[in-house]
């Protein structure tokens, strides 16, 4: 068996057999599903709570507006002063008291008050406010002699029918879906680099602190050891990911079927609003467009590009992590070198999230999808919006060439660094090592 495969095998087994790795692999999905269930449960509990609101409406203008719903019960009280209304609300343990004094329509908005024992929930207050606002507006319009039906009839919603020059229908919702696709791919890469890059770095440091490194590199070339480490650790990472996906899937199935927990929580007021908005904008035809768009997504391109950019980006960063591991003696010394690595990654995510959404083919998005340290993330986010193949190929080529350069550079630092003990190197020294 040749050296590289021996090293890969050892690194892989060392990771996979590690107790904390096994624990993490099997515990994380449990924790995530557990958290998910917990949140779902909390949401249910929260929504089952009924809010009793005592309303003292001296103006007598809002009766029609304040209609009780499942979660909010309005209890209208009349002929009572504010003081006794307060004590009533307090005695009946109501959620709060809404006090509307008898004022002119012009000034009433300044005098409406809400009393409660604890500070009320923001979404509730906002909802209540908009109810009152709408009612006052309506009354004012009516006072001015405006025909409300005409206003209602004049209301127009526009949802542009988008279509590309090739005749493919697109939509806003479709764009959101594409963004989700690209975002998920980019974010996955980001997480993968950070988690497994760190793992590689730790494993290099471990070899230094256990002083085995010199024994090993008297048998194999440092670059073989470095690449073996990167590949072995990556395989372990892929194994972990595969197990997570499988476990997550199985557990969701088990949870939904065996426990029969309804994972779609009862609709909250916000969701109601959103659903209304959705039904207004997303007609059946539109849903059809979204589905069509899903099918016209460059799935093949996306998968191939994902694999290539993922591998390229991951290898690029992991060789840097390996070099850092070689340069230092212990994990605390890695901080000064971590920042320059994380910078471009975080930048890539920012560019991806803020710029690609705005304009997937704008200058900034395009430039960052060529710069090798940000291109994997940014390009993966752009591809669902359709990037010409030659652009992808060019970006990949730049990435590949940078990878070769960085591996050469990392291997140099690695080769010298693994035999250096005792002092924390500076950037200047690292540059000097390149010449050894």
């Amino acid at each position: 068996m040749n050296h590289l495969s021996l090293i890969i095998k050892r690194e892989y087994l060392a990771k996979v057999k590690n107790k904390s790795f096994i624990l993490m692999t099997f515990l994380s999905p449990l924790i995530i599903v557990g958290l998910f269930l917990f949140v779902a449960y909390l949401t249910n509990v929260n929504n089952e709570k009924i809010r009793d609101i005592v309303v003292l409406d001296q103006s007598d203008l809002f009766k029609e507006t304040l209609v009780s719903t499942q979660q909010t019960k309005y209890q209208l009280v009349e002929t009572m002063d504010l003081k006794s209304a307060k004590s009533l609300a307090n005695e009946t343990k109501a959620y709060g008291l809404l006090f509307i004094p008898n004022r002119t329509l012009d000034s009433i908005s300044n005098y409406i008050q809400f009393f409660s024992e604890d500070s009320p929930s923001l979404s509730f207050i906002t909802g209540l406010e908009s109810k009152l606002e709408n009612r006052i507006k309506e009354l004012k319009l009516r006072q001015a002699g405006v025909d409300l039906d005409k206003i209602e009839a004049a209301k127009t919603y526009i949802n542009l029918n988008q279509e590309s020059f090739e005749g493919v229908k697109t939509s806003k919702a479709g764009s959101a879906m594409k963004l989700m696709f690209g975002g998920a791919a980019g974010y996955l890469l980001f997480m993968f680099i950070i988690v497994y890059g760190n793992m590689i770095m730790r494993s290099v440091i471990e070899e230094k602190t256990s002083r085995i490194i010199e024994v090993i590199i008297s048998s194999v070339k440092p670059i073989q050891l470095m690449l073996g480490k990167i590949f072995g650790t990556s395989l372990a990472g892929i194994t972990q990911f595969a197990i997570w996906i499988l476990l997550g899937f199985v557990m969701l199935l088990v949870v939904t079927f065996v426990f029969g927990v309804d994972l779609t929580p009862v609709q909250t007021p916000q969701q109601e609003l959103m659903n209304n908005a959705m039904t207004q904008s997303a007609s059946n035809a539109e849903i059809q467009t979204i589905i069509n768009e899903f099918y016209t997504l460059p799935i093949g391109n996306l998968i191939i590009a994902f694999v290539l950019f993922f591998i390229g980006g991951y290898l690029l960063y992991s060789s840097l992590y390996a070099a850092i591991g070689a340069a230092v003696d212990n994990e605390t010394d890695t901080q000064q070198f971590m920042f320059p690595i994380l910078m471009p990654l975080i930048l890539a995510i920012y560019v991806g999230v803020f710029t690609v959404i705005e304009d997937p083919h704008g200058t900034i998005s395009t430039v960052f999808s060529y710069i090798p340290f940000t291109s994997p993330v940014v390009m993966l986010m752009r591809i669902p919006f359709g990037v010409p193949l030659w652009e992808q190929a060019l970006s990949l080529l730049i990435l590949g060439m940078t990878f070769v350069l960085v591996v050469w550079f990392a291997a140099k630092i690695y080769r010298v660094g693994i035999l250096m003990y005792g002092k924390k190197p500076t950037y200047k020294e690292l540059l000097k090592w390149l010449k050894y």
Partner: protein, 310 residues
């Protein structure tokens, strides 16, 4: 071909630091070659060059008649000064892994490991992790791994550090045995007692230069000063000392003895010989102690380095 390894005019520079300048050594076959020098002299750099861990700037290394190539690593066994093993890996797996990296097949490695583990009576360690073993135990494993692939050339950098005297002896005996079985050993140290006991040849490196090399016996002969240490039993010590110093160059000696003797170091000039001296002394007093002072490696080491200006 009498030399298993020749390093010819090796130079190596790290930045502005000259680690080796123009160093040549010849290691005869089946010998134990001591590579000596103070800390930071360049010993480890030379050893790393022989192991192809570091490349020399100038010069070449020849192993068994061939210029050093990557495949030669399987003929070299190296025990570095900075040594260790994977702490959380099992002893057996680890030894197998390292042996396979040196080019042994799995089955061959397993067979030889069984032999060594039985020989050193450490078979029950096979499934233990290194972190469960003591430092000395781990060192034994390390030694086994170094010699397992039966290399022609063995390189030990400070091999006895970390061993208790009993285990150090055990390892020393194994090194001698390996030499007798045909291996050639390069042995780097600054502990001179072990040089005295083990080495046939030595080279002394100081501040990146080789300042002395050759057979240990020859070097000792070259460094001896024809001085004899004597212990004489006599009543009137100062009178005798006066008498002797008229003929020879005399200084006071210090060694342990049972009697209250006159203890002297007597240096012979080329025209003298030791028999005359002994006859002269026995005619004057009772000679309790008579010994030629042969310089030990430690003296030679210190003296040579002093002479080379430090």
């Amino acid at each position: 071909m009498n030399h298993l390894l020749e390093a010819n005019r090796i130079s190596k520079q790290f930045g502005n630091f000259q680690a080796l300048s123009d160093v040549s050594i010849q290691v005869p076959k089946h010998s134990i070659f001591g590579l000596l020098g103070p800390n930071g002299a360049g010993k480890t750099t030379l050893i790393r060059i022989i192991n192809q861990i570091t490349m020399p700037d100038k010069g070449e290394v020849v192993l068994d008649g061939e210029p050093l190539k990557p495949h030669h690593v399987q003929h070299i066994g190296y025990l570095p000064e900075e040594r260790g093993l994977y702490k959380s890996m099992k002893v057996g797996e680890q030894a197998l892994y390292l042996a396979q990296l040196k080019g042994l097949s799995y089955s061959e490695a397993k067979k030889r490991l069984n032999y060594w583990f039985e020989k050193l009576e450490i078979g029950h360690w096979w499934n233990k992790k290194i972190e469960e073993l003591s430092k000395g135990m781990a060192q034994k494993i390390q030694f086994v791994v170094t010699v397992l692939h039966q290399p022609k050339l063995l390189i030990f950098d400070e091999p006895f550090s970390g061993f208790d005297p009993i285990n150090a002896n055990l390892i020393k005996d194994e090194i001698l045995k390996l030499r007798d079985e045909g291996a050639t050993v390069i042995f780097s140290t600054h502990r001179m007692e072990s040089v005295e006991e083990l080495c046939d040849h030595i080279a002394l490196i100081h501040q990146s230069k080789k300042i002395l090399d050759g057979k240990l016996i020859d070097i000792k002969k070259a460094h001896k000063t024809n001085t004899f240490e004597v212990g004489l039993s006599i009543e009137n010590k100062s009178e005798l000392k006066q008498l002797i110093s008229e003929r020879y160059h005399v200084s006071t000696a210090d060694f342990k003895s049972l009697e209250d003797d006159l203890k002297l170091n007597i240096k012979l000039e080329p025209e003298h010989n030791s028999q005359q001296l002994l006859a002269f002394l026995s005619s004057k007093a009772h000679v309790n102690h008579y010994k030629e002072l042969i310089p030990n490696a430690n003296d030679i080491f210190i003296q040579t380095i002093k002479n080379n200006g430090l």
